[in-house]
C-alpha cells in the first residue's frame, strides 16, 4: 500500500514536470520568441489551454502530500519555506497573467500581463530548480551543487518550452505562411541569428526560432548536467543522495537525452528528449533521496482509495480528451488570448 501511494505521488509530480514544463518553458521564452503583439497572442493561446490541464497535476500532488505524507509536508515544505513561498508567488503571478490577459483589449493591459506570465514562469522554473537542488543536497538550496542543479533545471524547462513552441507555434495549414518571404532568405542553418532575422520579417515563424533554440538550450542543459555530476563528486556536496548509482544513471539519461537534441538534427526529437530529461530529476529525488515518507494508516488509505477509485477513469478520460481535442486546429475561442 505504501509503495502505491509513493508511486501515485511520483507519478503526479513527474506528470506535472512533463506537462507543465511545456507551458512554463514557453512562458519563459515568450519575450524572445514572440516579438509582435500578434505573436504574443498566439503564444499565449498556445499556452493557455494546456495550463488548465497541467497545473492540476501539481494541485493533486500537494493534496496527496497533505493527506498521505504529512511528515513529508512538514519536513520538506517547512525546511524550504522561502523557496516554496516564492514558488507560490510565482505561480499566482503567472496564473493571474493567463486568466486576465485576454479580458481587456488594450496594448498596455496585454503587455503588463505578458510580463506577469513571463516573470511568473521564470520564478516557477528557478524555484523548482532550487527545490530539486535543495532536496538533492540535503536542505541547502544555495550550495554550489544545488545551484548548478537549479540552473540545469531551468535550462530543461526552457528546452521543454522551446520544443513545445516549435510545434505549437506553427500556423494552421490554411494560414498564409508567407512562404515567399522565407524562400528569399538563406536557409536557417546558420543558427539563431538567421532565424531571428527571418522571424522579424515573418511573424508566423516563431516556431523556427523556437526550433533553433532547442539546440542551444540542449547544449546548456548538457553542460549543466556534466557540471552537476562533477559537483556531486565534491566532498559533502550531494549529501542527501543515498544511492549514487541512481544518481549516476539519472545523469547519464539526462545527458544522453539532451545530447541527442544538442546536435544538428533539428527540433524534431526534442519533444521526446525534453520530456525524458525533465522527468528524470523528480524521479531521481524519489529514488535516491531518503525522504520522510511513512506509510499512511490503513484508515486514511481506505478513505482515499475508496473515494478516488470510482473517479480515476474520469480523471484519465478528461486529460486524454483535453490533450487530443487541442491537437486539432480550430478557431480560437478567444477566452485566454
Amino acid at each position: 500500500m505504501e509503495i502505491l501511494a509513493v508511486l501515485v505521488l511520483t507519478g503526479l509530480v513527474v506528470g506535472y514536470f512533463v506537462l507543465a514544463g511545456c507551458d512554463i518553458g514557453l512562458g519563459m521564452l515568450m519575450p524572445y520568441l514572440a516579438r509582435t503583439p500578434g505573436d504574443r497572442r498566439r503564444t499565449v493561446s498556445a499556452i493557455a489551454p494546456y495550463f488548465l490541464g497541467s497545473e492540476v497535476w501539481l494541485v493533486g500532488a500537494v493534496g496527496v502530500v497533505a493527506g498521505l505524507f504529512p511528515e513529508l509536508k512538514s519536513g520538506v515544505i517547512v525546511e524550504l519555506w522561502p523557496v516554496f513561498t516564492a514558488l507560490l508567488a510565482g505561480w499566482l503571478l503567472r496564473d493571474a497573467g493567463l486568466w486576465f490577459r485576454g479580458r481587456v483589449d488594450a496594448a498596455g493591459w496585454h503587455g503588463a500581463w505578458d510580463t506577469a506570465i513571463t516573470a511568473g514562469s521564470w520564478v516557477l522554473a528557478v524555484c523548482w530548480g532550487l527545490v530539486i537542488g535543495g532536496l538533492l543536497s540535503g536542505g541547502a538550496p544555495l550550495d554550489p551543487f544545488s545551484l548548478v542543479c537549479a540552473a540545469t533545471m531551468v535550462a530543461l524547462f526552457a528546452l521543454r518550452g522551446a520544443a513545445f513552441g516549435a510545434e505549437r507555434l506553427v500556423p494552421p495549414p490554411g494560414a498564409e505562411p508567407r512562404a515567399a518571404l522565407r524562400g528569399a532568405l538563406p536557409p536557417a542553418r546558420g543558427g539563431l541569428a538567421v532565424a531571428r532575422r527571418e522571424a522579424a520579417v515573418n511573424p508566423a515563424e516563431c516556431a523556427d526560432v523556437a526550433g533553433q533554440a532547442t539546440r542551444v538550450l540542449a547544449r546548456v542543459a548538457l553542460g549543466g548536467t556534466v557540471l552537476a555530476a562533477g559537483a556531486a563528486l565534491l566532498p559533502g556536496a550531494a549529501a542527501a543522495l543515498e544511492r549514487p548509482q541512481a544518481a549516476a544513471a539519472a545523469a547519464v539519461v539526462v545527458g544522453v537525452a539532451v545530447a541527442a537534441t544538442a546536435g544538428l538534427s533539428g527540433p524534431r526529437l526534442s519533444r521526446h528528449t525534453s520530456a525524458v530529461a525533465i522527468a528524470v530529476p523528480p524521479l531521481l529525488v524519489a529514488a535516491a533521496v531518503e525522504l520522510p515518507v511513512v506509510a499512511a494508516p490503513a484508515g486514511t488509505l481506505a478513505l482515499v482509495v475508496f473515494a478516488l477509485a470510482p473517479v480515476v477513469p474520469l480523471m484519465i478520460a478528461g486529460q486524454v480528451w483535453l490533450y487530443r481535442m487541442l491537437r486539432r486546429p480550430a478557431p480560437v475561442s478567444g477566452f485566454f488570448a
Partner: protein, 416 residues
Amino acid sequence: MFDDPLLLARLQFAFTASIHYLFVALTLGLAPFILASQFSATVRRDEARMRAVRFWGGLYVVNYGMGVLSGLVMELQLATNWSGLSDTFGYAFGAPLAVETMGAFFIESTFLGLWIFGWDRMGRWAHLACFAVVTATAYASAYWVLVANGFLKNPVGFEINDGVAELTDPVALAANPSALLALAHIANTALIVGSLVIAAVSAYHLARRNDPDGMFGRGIRRAALVFALSVFPASITGGVQFAFSEDGPPTSGLTYTAEEIAAIEGAYEQGGGVATGIGTAGEVFMTLSWLLMTMLSVVILVVWLFRGIDRWRWFLWPMVFTPFLPYLASIGGWIYRETSRQPWAVVHHLTTADAMTDMSPAMAAVSFSLFTAAFAALATITFWLLVRFARRGPDGGPLAPAPERDADPAVPAHTF
C-alpha cells in the same frame, strides 16, 4: 501588530479564506443555473438560448479563475503556515483534502478546459456532459473541503497513537454531521448568491430596456423563483447547525483531560476573546441580511404577480445592488463558524497557537504582506472584470463567439 506571527497568520487565513469563499459561493451558485439553461438550449437546439449560456458561462469562467488562484494559496498556506495541523492531524484532516484535490479539482479544471475550448469542436450533448461534470465536481469539492473543515469543529473517527491522530473510522469522518449540515446550508445559500447575482445582472439590462432574445426576462424570472424557494430553507439548514454546535466532540479527552481543556478555554476567555466579538458580529450580519432577504423575496413575488418583474424601473434599479446581502451573510456566517472554534484549531485537541508553524515574525510579516496585497489586487481586478462583463451583455462576453480576426492566424496547430 507585525511582531505577532500568530495574529498575522490568523488574519491572513481569515482574509484569504473570505476572499476565496466570495468567489467559490458564486461558482457553486451559478453552476446549476448554467447547467439547466444549457440543458434546455441543447434539448431545443436553440441558438438564442445558447447565446445566453455563453453570457452566463463567461461570468462563470472569469469568476472561476479567481476561485482557482485563491484556492491554490489556501492550499499552500495550510502547508506553510499551519504545519502543526498536519503534524498531528495530517492523516485525518489532510485525507479529505487529498481526495478533494485529486477527485474534484483535477477533474473540474480539466473538464472546464474541455467546456471552454470545446464550444465549436464537440457534439452538443458531449459539451453539455462536460458542464455536468464541472457542476458535480464543484459540489464534490465543496463537500470534501467541508469534511476537512468539519473535522476541525467536530473531530471524529480517529485514535491518538504516539501523539499522532490515526484515522480509524473513515465512514465517521465522511459522514461527520458538522460537515453534512454545513454542506446543506452552503449549497442552499450558494443558490441564494447565484440567483441574486443573476437577478441583479438581468435587472440592470431590463432597466435599460435591453433584452436580447428575452434572455434577461427569463433570467430574472428563474432567479426570482429559485431565490424565493431557497431563502426560507436557509434558516432551517442554518438553524440546525446552532443546535449541533452546542455539544463537544465525541473524541473529547483523547488528547487533553477535561481539566486541561477547561484551563485552556478559561485562559482564552480571560484574555478577552476579541474573536468572539467579531464572531457575534458575523452572526448578526448573517441573520440580519436573511431577514432583509425574506422581505425582499416577498416584494419580488408581489411585483411578479403584477407582471412588473421585467418592466418596473423603480423595482429593477434597486435589484441591481441586492447581491451585497447574501455576500455579507456568507462571510458573516463563516466568520461566526471559524471564530466560535477558538481557542482551538481542532476542538479539544489542538490549540490554534500550537497549530501554527514556528515562524519568525519576519517570515510571518513577509508572507502576510505579500499574499494579502496580492489577494486584494487580484480580487479587485476580478470584481471589476465581472462587473464590466455583466454590464456589457452577451455580445462582449469572454465566451462570445470569436469575431473573425483579420490576418493573424488564430490558433497555432500541431504539425506532428
